[in-house]
């Protein structure tokens, strides 16, 4: 695995995590460079989502170090952690839209700490984000009235509305039909181009990985077992990698 440099947005070293007697993450090392789309592939339950939650401080590892945007996640004060999180976008697997709020309120929620923005500026940002994901006409809808694909797009719009420097996508295409999944993958590319943000994309969807990745890490049982482009991984002799990347 590559060694960390000062320009890396994310740098993880020797991170271990156990849930009881179960080893979830084993001595993980990881770096993400500015503007890079890093895809982490692996079977369900191999620890990908837990890794993403460790990066934003939702889960505390047992040992190791995590630096995100030049801050050490494990030793940072709670207020500073909240300030750091406002520079990071996170797309949850389920979308995690707030049931009690309409779409506009959902999108405006991450902007609540941006005091420099007045009501009109926030409304413009919400409209811009909704237009980017092609759902501008759903401004006042409630999340419960939307399809799975639309919910994912709205969650994506909420993720990018703060123009984050780093975005974590947890299974962005899971549960979607191939056409909608492809549309979401193309959206991830357009976000990378438009916002110049680095991204960690966690998926087991081959098409999503092939479309979006600048680099791919393959995870198995809590450890990285391979790294490279999709084409390079296709040549891998490791059975677990073959099972993931071959159609």
């Amino acid at each position: 695995m590559p060694t960390a440099t000062t320009t890396d947005l994310v740098s993880i070293e020797k991170m271990n995590l156990n849930f009881g007697n179960h080893e979830v993450l084993k001595a993980l090392n990881l770096t993400v460079a500015a503007g890079e789309n890093l895809v982490i592939m692996g079977r369900s339950g191999c620890g990908k989502s837990v890794l993403a939650k460790c990066i934003v401080g939702l889960v505390q590892p047992d040992s190791g170090s995590i630096r995100v945007l030049n801050e050490s996640i494990l030793s940072i004060a709670p207020n500073q952690l909240n300030a750091l999180r406002r520079r990071i976008g996170f797309l949850f697997q389920s979308g995690a839209l707030y049931d009690s709020m309409n779409i506009a309120q959902n999108l405006a929620f991450p902007l609540r700490h941006h005091k420099e923005l007045d009501k009109k500026a926030k409304r413009l940002l919400v409209e811009e984000a909704l237009t980017h994901v092609g759902l501008a006409e759903n401004y006042y809808d409630m999340p419960s009235s939307l399809s799975g694909g639309m919910r994912k797009r709205i969650a994506l719009a909420r993720t990018i509305i703060i123009k984050p420097e780093l975005i974590l996508y947890d299974e962005p295409t899971t549960g979607l039909d191939p056409i909608t999944a492809l549309e979401i993958s193309e959206l991830l590319i357009s976000i990378q181009v438009k916002y110049k943000a680095a991204a960690i994309i966690i998926t087991h969807d081959q098409a999503c990985a092939r479309t979006t990745a600048n680099r791919i890490l393959v995870m198995n049982n809590g450890a990285f077992i391979a790294e490279g482009s999709y084409a390079q991984l296709m040549q891998s002799a490791i059975p677990e990698v073959q099972a993931l990347v071959h159609p």
């Binding site: 934003v56 909240n82 300030a83 999180r85 996170f90 389920s94 995690a96 707030y98 049931d99 929620f109």
Partner: protein, 263 residues
């Protein structure tokens, strides 16, 4: 086979550790709420929304229950007092029991059932669907945004609704009195309030505030730390009601002793 000391102690040690962790988490949760409630910044919009949901939407239930309670207590107590020729004591006796005990406790139990389960289930559903994680990742303090408004609204609304409950119970008592003859409204209130002291009212309201604190804190805790899955939501709602109801009775026993000291 005879178990070794090690194998015998292991489950006990594991139980002790889990109790310690539970207590540690509960204390941390309570302190975080206290810090969020006292230090702010306050989520006023969320607080008013919760006050509307918790208070205004519970008013019909509290009013009807209070009214019926007043009528029933009057009808049930009348024969006993009649045996001693003391029916004139009926308004004072029923009102005293409403002010001192029945009003706060019944309203508290209604709240534990209606509001405790609703808060527990709502937060548990938010936990299961990763909405709480999403709030945290947005850099928003979940204690300030989710916990403090709900607990504070529960405390405030329970005190206000206890006053409403007492008023409706007294009106129910008046109706109950008039089932067996005519009693003037003014005379009824003079008789009813003659034996109510300031300490009766204040102790009831303080007790209601403590009930509200317990209900709000227990329900938000159960929801906030719900385990994953739909069964986690059901468990959180159930535990909220059971623990909050139990807490009300325990607080009541202590409050009665403390109030007796001042009376």
């Amino acid at each position: 086979m005879i178990p070794t000391i090690g194998t015998a102690i292991k489950p006990i040690a594991s139980k002790v550790i889990s109790i310690y962790k539970y207590l540690d988490r509960s204390i941390h949760f309570t302190l975080q709420y206290t810090k969020a409630a006292l230090a702010g910044p306050y989520e006023w919009n969320e607080l008013f929304r919760q006050c509307f949901i918790i208070g205004y939407q519970s008013l019909p239930l509290v009013a009807i229950t209070g009214l019926i309670l007043g009528i029933v207590l009057t009808i049930q107590s009348r024969p006993t007092l009649a045996e001693f020729g003391a029916t004139s004591w009926l308004p004072a006796m029923v009102t005293t029991s409403i002010f001192r005990e029945v009003g706060p406790v019944i309203t508290g139990l209604l709240f534990a059932g209606k509001i405790g389960s609703a808060i527990g289930a709502e937060l548990a559903a938010m936990r299961v669907s990763e909405q709480i994680d999403a709030i945290e990742v947005s850099g928003v303090n979940t204690y300030q945004y989710l916990i403090a408004p709900r607990v504070t609204a529960t405390i405030t609304m329970l005190v206000i609704l206890t006053i409403f409950s007492m008023a409706f119970s007294m009106f129910g008592t008046y109706l109950g009195m008039n089932l067996n003859g005519v009693l003037q409204f003014r005379i009824f209130y003079v008789q009813a309030l003659a034996h109510i002291s300031f300490i009766d009212l204040i102790s009831s309201l303080i007790k209601s505030a403590i009930f509200g604190f317990a209900i709000g804190l227990i329900a938000t805790y159960q929801g906030f730390y719900a385990t994953k899955g739909t069964s986690g939501v059901a468990k959180a709602a159930n535990k909220s009601v059971v623990y909050a109801s139990l807490a009300i009775f325990i607080i009541d026993v202590i409050a009665v002793q403390v109030t007796a000291f001042f009376r």
